[in-house]
Symmetry: C2
Subunit: 264 residues, 2 copies
């Protein structure tokens, strides 16, 4: 018996902050024929709310430190406003969506990050994904919308990176489905020339990845993303796509964006 | 085949605002042996956040007018902070809880309130409860935590009275379960003397309700609550209990609080 396809799609803040992009994305997501999970970040709303409330944001090595007040803000914005706005819009577009955090149904268990030098506060690193339960929801034609908040099973909510959540969900659900993991971002894919949006690299496998890195055609911020993508492939994900949110339908058909694939 | 019991329990803001009361309530809720749904209000947090953000709160006839900014605040506080904090604490106490709004899985469909004179803004009146889906969750031993936010299926979230949500859920699920609807509030039950907490009326049926009203032993704010309770009984709910959140276990066993029952 061959596995059914599942699309795990991550959208970043730039989509959430732009009503037009978001609306195009919502329509494209709802139109996907089959099982799907949306993982979202928070956009600028959390930063703006923290500012309005006079909560100082500490960033160390590009990572936001999550103190008690910041955790409250991200829980309100990610799990409340953003998650439920997405769910309501998806319902209107014909997707039977439900919004979850990792605490709901113990969907994603995490622990507070331990670091020898930096106290990240209430930042969670993932221990496990409750794939069996998520599978039981998907089986009932429910689309899952996951906010980047997890829990430690001892009552503590934890702020968790949305890219990592998408990856861990994709890997865990590979047990039940043929999973495509799709990262939607500002650019139309991985570019061989950062200044030229028409320079999208259509496909990257481990060999071409090595070559692209040697030729320094792949820039700094993209390297951890691609490393994670290859790790997901090693753990059972079929392919990882990187493309524009507004072009989701084309990205899924591999007519737009970059496909990260295993050794070909 | 006799129906299994289901407890639909509503907690008000006074429980949410008090860490000690809440902790006692969480333990008692998690300890209930059987199917259960928690419906929560928002407490003072929404009012406080609106104040901090400089959003003016308009109250007409004791009802909060929900403009766009206020809807964002209640969605963040109710569906985000309060709902997910309750879920995480319930998970820690051994209840496999998931938090929902009426938008999630189209659980509660509502429409924007129409009123000839007052524009309530984004306030929702309930059209229907997706009882079949809530039943399918309960059947998997999932405890549902419902925030007082619904949707109109056209992409609009709506602020909806938590007492009414509890009542409508209790009525709708009477198709599948023998439902007890439990309102937890500050007082130990319906009092025959508002100043004396030991004057709890143990049981009220339609006849004694008439008598209590004639004797003016039931005060103003309690009348709509009791009217709603009797309406729920007429529509299939087995009994309605009114009691203290911290005494939930005793209220369920009818050792504390007031039982509203049909004609005896």
């Amino acid at each position: 018996l061959s596995k059914q396809p599942l699309y795990v799609i991550k959208i970043g803040g730039n989509v959430i902050d732009d009503a037009e992009k978001l609306s195009a994305f919502i329509r494209a997501f709802a139109a996907i024929n089959g099982h799907k999970i949306l993982v979202h970040g928070g956009g600028k709303l959390a930063t703006r709310l923290a500012e309005q409330l006079g909560i100082e944001q500490q960033v160390v090595d590009g990572r936001r430190i999550t103190d008690t007040e910041t955790l409250r803000v991200v829980t309100m914005v990610y799990a409340g406003y953003v998650n439920k706005t997405l769910v309501a819009q998806l319902q209107a577009a014909g997707s039977n969506a439900i919004g979850l955090t990792g605490a709901d149904g113990n969907a994603i268990l995490a622990h507070k990050r331990q670091h020898p030098a930096i106290d990240y506060g209430f930042v969670g690193d993932i221990d496990s994904v409750n794939a069996a339960w998520l599978h039981s929801l998907l089986r009932e034609q429910i689309d899952i919308v996951m906010a980047p908040i997890t829990h430690d099973a001892h009552g503590q909510l934890l702020n968790t990176n949305a890219d990592t959540i998408a990856q861990e969900i994709a890997v865990a659900l590979s047990e039940y489905y043929t999973v495509d993991l799709i990262y939607c971002f500002e650019k139309p894919g991985v570019l061989s020339n950062a200044a030229d949006e028409s320079s999208v690299i259509g496909q990257i496998d481990p060999n071409s990845y090595l070559r692209l890195r040697e030729e320094k055609l792949i820039f700094a911020g993209m390297i951890p993303k691609l490393d994670n993508a290859f790790r997901a492939l090693e753990k059972g994900v079929r392919q990882v796509m990187i493309g524009k949110a507004e072009e989701l339908s084309l990205v899924i058909e591999r007519k737009s964006g970059t496909a990260i694939v295993p050794h070909t």
